[in-house]
Amino acid sequence: MKIHEYQAKAIFAEYGIPVGKEKVATDPEEAKAIAQELGLPVVIKAQVKVGGRGKAGGIKLVEKIEDVASVANQILQMTIKGIPVKKVLVAQAIPIAQEYYLGITIDRAIRKPVLLASSAGGVDIEEIARTAPQKIIKQPIEPSIGLLPFQTRNIGFKLFADSQIVNEFSAIAQKLYQIFWDKDCSLAEINPLVTIRQSQATSPRLIALDAKIVFDDNGLFLHPELADLQDPTGEEPNELEAKKAGLSYVKLEGNVGCVVNGAGLAMATMDLIKRFGGEPANFLDIGGSSSPEKMITAMKIILSDKNVKAILINIFGGITRCDDVAQGLLAALKESKIAVPIVARLTGTNEAEAHKILNGSQVIPAKDMAEAVQKAVALAK
């Protein structure tokens, strides 16, 4: 689960990671009032859970109070990578000396958390990895011991000349790991972490200018307090509905809708559509046990995508019973007229019953996966 920058910053503040003076606003007037209170200049930042906000024009520096409302309004009208902006963060502008990167994530290969730090902050870590991999410092973390002070201190000495800043850095890294571990995160990231210009020297000298936290979906049940942070605005509505029904759905750009049991087979089905010259409209895994209801929801979600010109159902029944899928399909057809052609390949548990159920319906049968995909691709053209 991703959360907004302002929500992540609230967690930072709670754990004692220094953040700037800032508040969130939902309309231009509120933004103006906040700017007045904080003092100018301010930075107005779109609150959307995608990267590249700056490049998209979603982050603006405002010098004069009379410009605040109009800039805030302009950002609130934006849609960044398909996500409409509903909130902006109004932050006191900070005189930045230099930008750094600090993040903690999971290294799958070594099955441990890893801390990543770099003097090349402000851009994506992937970008740094591509352009200046030597500038990334990696510190694997022993899960039974945690992140040790000497480890973060030593990274600090590599990044900073000033020992006060080294101490601040070390403390921030320790707190970031605390958040990562306490809250079952997949990612806790400060990018950029900035030093404040010398002439303005105050304490602290290091501040988290941005904040990104991604929680492990599988860990959410351990943290009921995080449920309040879920913000359904800005999520794909169909993906949300699918999740509620126990389905896993990802919208794509093509026109062949697919319903498959199992994530691996669903991906392989998409790949085969492409291989036979079509474009998949979605990824949809109906999961292990398929009640007829799941099938009805699946059809509804797929049909809400107006690009869909043909539907492909590919089921290899194990726990999933083909007759359950067929019943669900039939019920979906009864509930509403489906104008697009449907091709179904149902193999495995109770397939004979399934074929009987669908006999005489509009569903076009296929004997195997390749035939089903070819038929669906042809019908979508």
Binding site: I106, R108, A109, R111, K112, P113, D124, I125, E126, A129, E142, P143, S144, W181, D184, S186, D216, D217, N218, G219, F221, L222, S248, V250, L252, V260, N261, G262, A263, G264, L265, A266, M267, A268, M270, D271, L272, I273, K274, R275, P280, F283, D285, G288, F316, G317, G318, I319, T320, T347, G348, T349, D368, M369, A370
Partner: protein, 289 residues
């Protein structure tokens, strides 16, 4: 021979009184697997399809000689169930449960380092040595005893590929679903080592998917150590970046873990790449009698 499970495997089903546990205990039994015990705390003395239920894994092991467990308990209790099976010093633990927190798995794997128990999964469909034992949830009829070893990160896709291997007449030595999660107990390389040493296995199929670098590591290992013919399939060539494709582990994160990289790694290692499941039949023909 086969690997990891065979006709001597004695299975304890953790969570046997639940819906899934009971259903699959019966299905494994019908397949011919020696399912000797079930465990559900507080339900000792009951039986499920004639399988005796115990309060703890250690009691089940003492009473029945069970050496392998399969876990069907819900995610919030599954980690505890794995620790219990490890503590009882079972040889093999198969965790079918999906949705275990990643950090809990990281801690567990650290704990498992010097233990003798092997963990398969979580989020695994289990494994089957056709004609000998099924310790999992796969439909037994798809498989037939034979000479191809299959190791996979998914479930139904594995059935699809095994179906073609069976239809082509080769059959399988053992088919293992290692699980779709980010952190799993047994990886491709562990299985490749076992298949390499198994005389029944004459060819190996790796069924991978997007996310992580396990396939790349496996490719390097194949190049260095495996003399048997190896075939590889990667699901998710059309998957978009930064979207989790069902499995927690199937995500292209930060531009890493793409199908393209994995296919390239396979090709460089001399692994024969399969682009669609049905292709496995012809490809096997070129390398096997």
């Amino acid at each position: 021979m086969s690997i990891l499970v065979n006709q001597d495997t004695k299975v304890i089903v953790q969570g046997i009184t639940g819906r899934d546990g009971a259903f699959h205990a019966r299905s494994m039994l019908e397949y011919g697997t020696k399912v000797v015990a079930g465990v559900t705390p507080g339900k000792a003395g009951q039986d499920v399809n004639g399988i005796p239920v115990f309060n703890s894994v250690i009691e089940a092991k003492k009473a029945t000689g069970g050496n392998t467990s399969i876990i069907f308990v819900p995610a919030r209790f599954a980690i505890d169930a794995i620790y219990e099976a490890v503590d009882a010093k079972l040889d093999l633990v198969v965790c079918v449960t999906e949705g275990i927190p990643t950090l809990a798995m990281i801690k567990l794997m650290d704990y498992l380092k010097d233990k003798k128990t092997r963990l398969i999964g979580p989020n695994s469909p289990g494994l089957i040595s056709p004609g000998e034992a099924k310790v999992g949830i796969m439909p037994g009829a798809v498989f037939k005893k034979g000479k191809v070893g299959v190791v996979s990160r998914s479930g139904t896709l594995t059935y699809e590929i095994a179906h073609h291997i069976t239809q082509a007449g080769y059959g399988e030595s053992t088919v293992i679903g290692i699980g779709g999660d980010l952190i799993i107990g047994t990886n491709f390389i562990d299985c490749l080592k076992l298949f390499n040493a198994d005389p029944q296995t004459e060819a190996i199929v790796i069924v991978g998917e997007i996310g992580g670098t396990d396939e790349e590591e496996a490719a390097k290992f194949v190049q260095r150590k495996i003399k048997k013919p190896v075939f590889g399939f990667i699901a998710g060539q059309t998957a978009p970046a930064d979207k989790r494709m069902g499995h927690a582990g199937a995500i292209i994160a930060g531009g890493k873990g793409t199908a393209k990289e994995k296919i390239l790694a396979f090709e460089e290692a001399g692994i024969e790449v399969i682009y669609e499941p049905a292709e496995i039949a012809q490809k096997l023909k070129t390398k096997l009698a």
